[in-house]
Amino acid sequence: MNPELPKPMLDALAREASPTAHPSPDELTAFVERSLVGGETQKVTDHLARCAECREVVFLASNAADDWVAETEDERLVAASGLRFSSVFAASAASAEVMNAPRMAEKPSRKWVPRLVWGVSAAAGIVVVAGLVLQQRFAAPNAAPQLASNEARNISPPAQAEQPLITRQSSAVAVAAPPSVGKPVKSARSKAVPSPSRDAVKTAAQQPFVEMENSAPRAAARVNTLSDSSAATLGGVSPSTAPSVAHAGALGSPVAGAAAARDGATGRLFSAPQASNNVLNTPYARWRITAEGHLEQSTSSGWTRALADQTATFRVVSVVGSDVWAGGDGGVLFHSSDGGRTWSRVAVSSSTGAETAAIVSILFDDFQHGALITESGARYRTTDGGTTWTSQ
């Protein structure tokens, strides 16, 4: 129980009026997301301490973002131990949510936010238990429990996964939201996931966007800082050949799920937010392109190179649910429909022949509709899940 303040102190607090102008919504948002730079944080905090109206706005906005999980001290402790189990649990919750097509007018339920109120000792105990559980789970990824888990997430079993997606015809429901203002989709939580169909997954695939972005609020759509103006080239990559940043949103839509790309100027990596980063070969794994142009996937033991037998230099990777698209130099385009277990090469060609320019951007509005952009500026579109690509 916190002490009560004497009346003179309360009165003195209430008398203080802010002498400064109200911060813009941009600044208030950046304050909530802790992305203010320099002395701005101090300035905004000082204003908030004296302005009840802005405090009201900030708390309303913060409370409305109840699906945003701040990295608490306890979570940082867990992260320091190498296990981000909260992300795993959050991913489970997210997958359960997306599997159950949310009802529209339902009151949004509060998402589970891990709060370890028992202090460091309890956190340490949970970390140990979670570590043991995860260790057992990942010891035999093809064992029955893992498959059962995958089935719950509607991942095709390996036998089906051998079939390349290219042969898949467009039976999926297009899920891009219509450009009209309708009833909002509300998040709904359900524990039961009774063998959902692929269409259900696709329909629901647009839902985790909020959660994904919020789980790593500054990961997806930001441009990395250039520490030096001369850092326009690195490793022989010129600015003109710099691959694109993740296009999960700007060129596509949230339905595109996530994408990652290499910043040619700095060599830093961009990873779009994912629902989980610890699960091997699941649609929730994280992907990245390294500075060397290798495609890598996160696993329980770190980053593992995918398509290691390919000599191509990859430029961009895009993830739509369990569909992963990776493009790179020479117009190479690879596709996996099972979260990276199996890959197939996809031909991209126009009337003038096969595309040879590097693919620098891949974006999907949904599972069926996507586009890619080459370094030369050529654009290709697909409306059948990547079976055919048409030059624009």
Partner: protein, 305 residues
């Protein structure tokens, strides 16, 4: 709250560094598909840098530009320019957020829908005659996420709407709603002006974080969880900090009162001998902090100050 841009202010010219930054990140920004060319992107950077708060000017401009949400900024600007493709993307990404946020804030479906619809109209930005476009998205500067910005704007609109509707409620309607109008309580005079002076001096000496903590908890009656969430720490951390600040301030005020001539016993009594009823914080006292409007919407059309 932020002011609207002037009708057609003199736009700042992009510097060489801004042009270089635009060239470097043009493709990554996705501006091309929304019909924003490279010079326009550079001009957008120049505009944002020119509106940059001087408090953040100790950060290198390139670092500052690197910290903005480029893709979301481009999307917002393209929407403000009326690009249809951008609107498709925007609605696909943020429509749910907009309505869900409105619902969470208003907590009542009709009010939430009305709130979100009105905000959507402002985001779309066509005037009543459908001729001139002045989208609220023009105010988005990419400092935080577009999603977070939408939440903030919804919250602002809700607060403004609440204040507006409250002002417009007639006495009869309030009486019908069962409102009770009690006589204002007389101000409890502080027995000794030295108490007030000591309290004011010590509170003024607090840093912004500590003051924010005190007012959020004691004046706004925010819960520890709410404050902890906003600050990104655990609520036990907030509780400890609150305890430390409150006790520390109290002790320093007492010390100051003793220095000003009070006996230790008098100082103790001045701090402790408070009627429980006096500890109630009245809403009008809280609202007294507010600098008067203009708020976000009232300044529309006025040049940026």
């Amino acid at each position: 709250m932020p002011s609207a841009p002037a009708s057609e202010p003199l736009k700042p010219q992009p510097s060489a560094a801004q042009r270089e930054f635009a060239a470097c990140h043009y493709q990554a920004s996705g501006a091309q598909q929304f019909g924003i060319d490279e010079p326009a992107l550079a001009a957008l950077f120049a505009e944002i840098v020119s509106k940059r708060d001087p408090a953040g000017s100790d950060i290198d401009e390139r670092d500052f530009l690197g910290s903005i949400r480029l893709e979301e900024l481009v999307l917002a600007r393209a929407c403000a320019n009326g690009n249809e493709r951008a609107w498709e993307v925007f609605l696909a990404r943020y429509r749910v957020t907009l309505y869900e946020t409105a619902y969470k804030i208003a907590a009542e479906e009709n009010a939430a829908r009305s709130l979100a619809d009105s905000l959507y109209a402002e985001l779309y930005g066509v005037d009543s005659k459908g001729q001139q476009r002045c989208s609220k998205l023009l105010y988005y500067q990419g400092r935080g996420s577009l999603q977070g910005w939408l939440r903030t704007v919804v919250a602002q609109e809700y607060v403004n709407r609440y204040r507006r509707e409250k002002r417009e409620t007639s006495l009869d309607a309030a009486l019908e709603d069962g409102a009770q109008f009690e006589a204002p309580e007389p101000e409890v005079a502080v027995a000794d002006p030295r108490v007030e002076a000591a309290a004011a001096a010590e509170l003024a000496a607090l840093d912004a974080d500590e003051r924010f903590l005190l007012v959020s908890y004691y004046l706004d009656h925010r819960t520890l969880a709410e404050i902890a969430k906003l600050q990104g720490v655990h609520e036990s951390t907030i509780s400890r900090k609150l305890q430390r600040v409150a006790v520390g301030v109290r002790r320093r005020i007492q010390r100051r009162m003793i220095q000003s001539g009070m006996s230790p016993r008098q100082a103790e009594e001045a701090m402790d001998n408070v009627d429980v009823r006096d500890l109630r914080v009245k809403v009008d006292q809280t609202l007294r902090q507010e600098t008067p409007p203009p708020t976000f919407y009232k300044q529309k059309g006025e040049p940026q100050g």
